[in-house]
Assembly symmetry: C2
DNA sequence: GTCTCACATGAAGGACCTTTCATGTTTAGT
DNA sequence: ACTAAACATGAAAGGTCCTTCATGTGAGAC
């Protein structure tokens, strides 16, 4: 039972709900959450304004519903892509590449997640603290396996999240690169050998 | 001559303009740009609604004015703090520390800059592309001085911006740390020696 | 075939927001 | 002190948006 959405009980209802979500995803990406009215969403879904309230209490609940969907989806992608990696190095490399491919394919996801800072600060904070926590656990595992240097896991996890996000910003959002192998290799080289000469 | 603001010509006018800006900075931080009405701003500044339009054409122009102010201010801080650094390493260390201190002191700056993604995408893009460009130039200089490894300057600059932003997010925005020496040292160690064992 | 619940509609009330402007007050220079 | 320009006011017009609800239609159970 999902508290954010009033789940439909017929095929027709499910179809309408999906149309609302698709319309909202597109509009939130194009115009942003605040500039998208419920009328815009229902217009995009080809339904009457009142129909919206059959499924959601308000725009905020719809937003939260989509955010959680994306946040699960992005994690699942990375988990699936990295679960068979042999080394921590390889896991990091594939994780970064998967992240870049994901936000390139779902640019709306990047927008919706960051926008939470301006819609619900606690949601935003929870998202990154939780993501950081999981990342830290992976780093600690890598340290036990003697592959990762003995550095502060929290510091390293936020560094790595920052790197993914900003490399993604430039190479997947600003530029429209299709192939991320080159940039991923460059990042991994710096993560491995540092940025300064010895 | 600034096109964003109608500059006042008396002390009284200057005082009113400052009150508007202070009120807006506080409210944009607390409630976000979109949830702040012009009435909220004028209430906070203790002036009548109409007075707002003596200084700005609309809320967007005020926003842009504040964004440019912060963006100059933050760069100036970093420039002043790093201009006497002897090495590229030291410059990076002091730059990061200054950035963290700045956004800790002016949390609104962090919010206002990121919020541009949801207010004016081109402004957001221009901000980071330009920042990245300047950062790259510094990196290239460091490479010529034989201090920085021969890596892609754009990749490295976006990595470093990402690191600053996310370390800032966790240690200056989420947590309320006052002293950043420890976390800066930890970051610098990873930037120097990488994250993996050899 | 009929009954019932699920779903859909769109007009309308009400809240909120931006912006203008005619009027009034203050400031700075002479 | 006088005057012209600068600044301040707040009521009100006009717009957008959210949300409700009485009414209507469709779909599945028996």
């Amino acid at each position: 039972m999902n508290l954010l959405v009033k789940e439909p009980k017929t095929k027709r209802g499910l179809n309408t709900l999906n149309r609302i979500c698709d319309s909202a995803k597109q509009l939130f990406y194009e115009k942003g959450y605040h500039n998208t009215s419920i009328n815009d969403i229902t217009d995009g879904a080809n339904i009457a304004p009142g129909t919206f309230y059959i499924y959601f209490n308000d725009k905020y609940n719809l937003y939260k519903y989509l955010l959680l969907q994306y946040s699960h989806d992005i994690r699942k992608s990375i988990r699936l892509a990295t679960e068979n990696c042999e080394s921590r190095y390889e896991r990091e490399r594939i994780g970064l590449k998967t992240f870049l491919k994901y936000i390139h394919k779902h640019k709306n996801a990047y927008h919706i997640i960051w926008e939470s800072l301006y819609i619900d600060y606690e949601l935003f904070r929870a998202y990154y603290v939780d993501f950081g926590q999981r990342y830290s656990n992976g780093i600690i595992a890598g340290q036990k396996e003697n592959e990762v240097r003995n550095v502060d896991p929290t510091v390293l996890s936020f560094m790595l999240m920052g790197i993914s996000n900003f490399i993604g910003l430039n190479y997947a959002i600003f530029a429209d690169g299709k192939d991320f192998d080159d940039v991923v290799d460059k990042v991994m080289d710096i993560l491995k050998n540092g940025m300064f000469k010895k």
